[in-house]
Amino acid sequence: MTMAAPQFEAGADTAVQRDKWIHMYRQMVSIRLFEEQVNELYTRALMPGLAHLYSGEEAVAVGICEALRIDDYITSTHRGHGHCLAKGASPDRMFAELLGKEAGYCRGKGGSMHIADPATGNLGANAIVGGSVGIATGAAFAAKKLATDRVAVCFFGEGALGQGSLYEVMNLAQLWKLPVIYVCENNLYNEYTHYTETTAGDVLSRATAFGIEAASVDGQDVRAVYGIASRFVERARRGEGPGFLQCNTYRYTGHHVGDINREYYRSKTEEQLWKTERDPLKVLSEWLLAQGLAGAPALKEIQDQIRARMEAAVKFAIESPYPSVDEVEKHVYA
């Protein structure tokens, strides 16, 4: 099943709807510009270690997270900045975390691959591919037992389809009818290897084999992602069990910030094509303009605002202090 983007909901208030799409546009721009700053920090040797940028995949995180409540849960991946922002995190504390500063979400102890935040239901990014599938399923298990009507979303790259634990928990989730949605971000590559070289058979069948409802969606079209995600989320919230969503997308840059020469595994033409033809910001902004829901200057203003916000956030992070060294032995045990 491949879903098309929803049109306006009949009879709904147009202004409310417009605000919603514009909000999503803002969120996607935030992710894009956040990642630009991350790359900049790396290039200027201001960031310790590496980071995996989400640029190009913005519509996935935003389309999914807009279908969630703030108290719903997500688990995220090594490529997690987008999920984190989309779920409501603030860029200043994120940048602070990326720089290992005390003001960061994890007091600098987690870094790019481990941002977590109870306030926005973010159970944490994870540097183990497939490492969070159990955690998301467990959050859904708790939601069901505690009857909170919360939903858990498990983001993972298509590379995690290689990990057996995904199949273990999909079996559990379906047996126990847990409110969890497995979101496979298929950006075509596991690091430096095309996913067709690592993935036999059919992706959706890997979920339907367990009786789980599954769908594919154009991950560059935030309206399409949001539409199908809403359906899956409501279904899960009603107690009708898990879902599996494959979002077809693309990462614009390297596997991580240091992956510059990519031609041995993918062509510049391919990259260019995705950027010009399928860019999620462009897809949404063109639709907004065509529908007369926003004018070009308004969109430009959004970008400028957000750019300023990101620059301020980076500045905040750079100027923030490191945790004091005796923090190192804190938080080993609660």
């Binding site: 955690i135 467990g138 959050a139 909170t148 080993v332």
Partner: protein, 331 residues
Amino acid sequence: MPESATRELTFAQAVREALAEEMRRDSRVCIIGEDVAEAGTPFKVLSGLVEEFGSERVVDAPISEAGFTGVGVGAAMTGLRPVVDIMFGDFITLTMDQMVNQAAKIHYMSGGHWKVPMVMRTTLGATRRSAAQHSQSLHAWFSHVPGLKVVLPSTPYDAKGLLKTAIRDENPVVFFEDKMMYKLKGPVPEDDYTIPLGVADVKRAGDDITLVATSSMVQIALRAADLLEKESISAEVVDPRTTWPLDEKTLIESAKKTSRVIVLDEGYGRYGVTAELAALIAEGAFYDLDAPVKRMAAMHVPIPFSPPLEDVTIPTEQTVFHAARSMCKPS
């Protein structure tokens, strides 16, 4: 031991009572594992719990150790207090990623924001003729990992008190039960009690030699101490009860007092629990020891099936007795 009335319970009954009491006390406590409900596990440790608490809280899982351990981690983060049941300690191999890369690190990696109050109950111990994949004692691995606590009860009393504490703890705790001890009987108070983690217990006081022993080896050490007594050697038996947190002080004090130490553990000796305990005591009681700390542990071989072979792989009261005697009365 508190002063309230006691009864004799088996080790298995003590574990079950701890679970039942904590489940009554706190509705967030639940059990997840294979054949934990109607079957009550192969060792029947959980018999009756599903009848009292229902299958919503005593949850039978598929044979997916990694999967349901991960579910335990996520559920613990979000409001439950799961007790994950891993039928044989040998199967923790399948859960290492969830326990070590996830459960143990989440509190720290999140800067203290998320907590993982879960317990993993599993087994250790050989000599059941179960061969190499059902006889291991792999608790040294978890003891090596910051963020985890590791409990090794050696009596029904300790099992109950320590398990209750483990369930109330805010951290991931791994609780190892010796399969051969499930039928061991001992006094258990009727009143509610808990035992703190990280406090060693002197199971028998003595002057001439210290036997530091964990889990299954405590009973061996106590019986060896009886044999030693007949030779007028007074052995002190110290049970750390938890390998992490570790009550270094009690161990070292006993070593200083007796000046001779054997450390006993059913895991492999090499790079195992006896290594840590011996190193610690050798350092902490350096100026008081009359002889090197002796380590006795599982022989460094996969556990063989054949009974005469299996029997020699694990320290016995006889081998401990002889080792202790020759340390005290060098010939």
